[in-house]
Assembly symmetry: C2
DNA sequence: ATCTTGATTTGACGAGTGTCAAACTAGGTG
DNA sequence: CACCTAGTTTGACACTCGTCAAATCAAGAT
């Protein structure tokens, strides 16, 4: 990761992703969804695991969805969420590169 | 990354880190600092590269510092910033694990 | 059609955030 | 000392965010 490669435009897009992760509730939501490993998680399961109200959970899921970190699908009465691995990988890679770059040379 | 391993307390700490990255200016700042690879970057260099005012840049650097992502040191008239690789690695790892977990199994 | 359950949307409110101008601190120079 | 440059802190303001209650939408059951 080089400074010149991170233009304002690119930074805005990436920041959107990190911003979505910048809330404990959303981080836990993503964690629970990711733990399903390919399977989806019903929203009802998620709301049950949190103290926050259903509208609040729905709001957080929307933020994660708008950031492209998760995707949702309705099947009958229930809505299922799953992670978007490539999106998470992109964010991870940015930090990983930074860490390595910082440790490798001088 | 398993859902049960991400307790509320842990989530709060990690979210703090991601939250600090959730702003384009801070992401670019971190990028510029990380690009120095072991060396430090003078604040004067950073302020010159941004359209925002010096107080604003100083504020963003403080947010990154409070999140433990960067460290600062004063030498004479100037203040130098450097990344904290372990902190970035921790955040990166969380996302990396998520992505892999989600892609590996069902 | 009516009712029930699951999920999202709307509206509102308090708390937090990004930004700048102005004031202030830290260190060096005349 | 006075002065200057580098950087941070303070105060203020508009804007966003997290949260919930109430209303609404979606799909099935009676």
């Amino acid at each position: 990761m080089v400074a010149e490669s991170l233009t304002e435009t690119v930074a805005v897009g990436l920041a959107k992703g990190f911003k979505a992760l910048g809330d404990p509730a959303r981080l836990r939501l993503l964690s629970m969804i990711a733990a399903r490993a390919g399977d989806e998680v019903c929203v009802c399961e998620l709301t049950d695991a949190f103290t926050q109200s259903a509208p609040t959970i729905s709001h957080h899921l929307k933020v994660l969805r708008d950031a492209g970190l998760v995707a949702s699908e309705r099947r009958g009465t229930w809505v299922y969420y799953r992670v978007v691995p490539s999106a998470l990988a992109a964010l991870s890679q940015l930090l990983d590169t930074s860490a390595m770059t910082a440790g490798v040379n001088g």
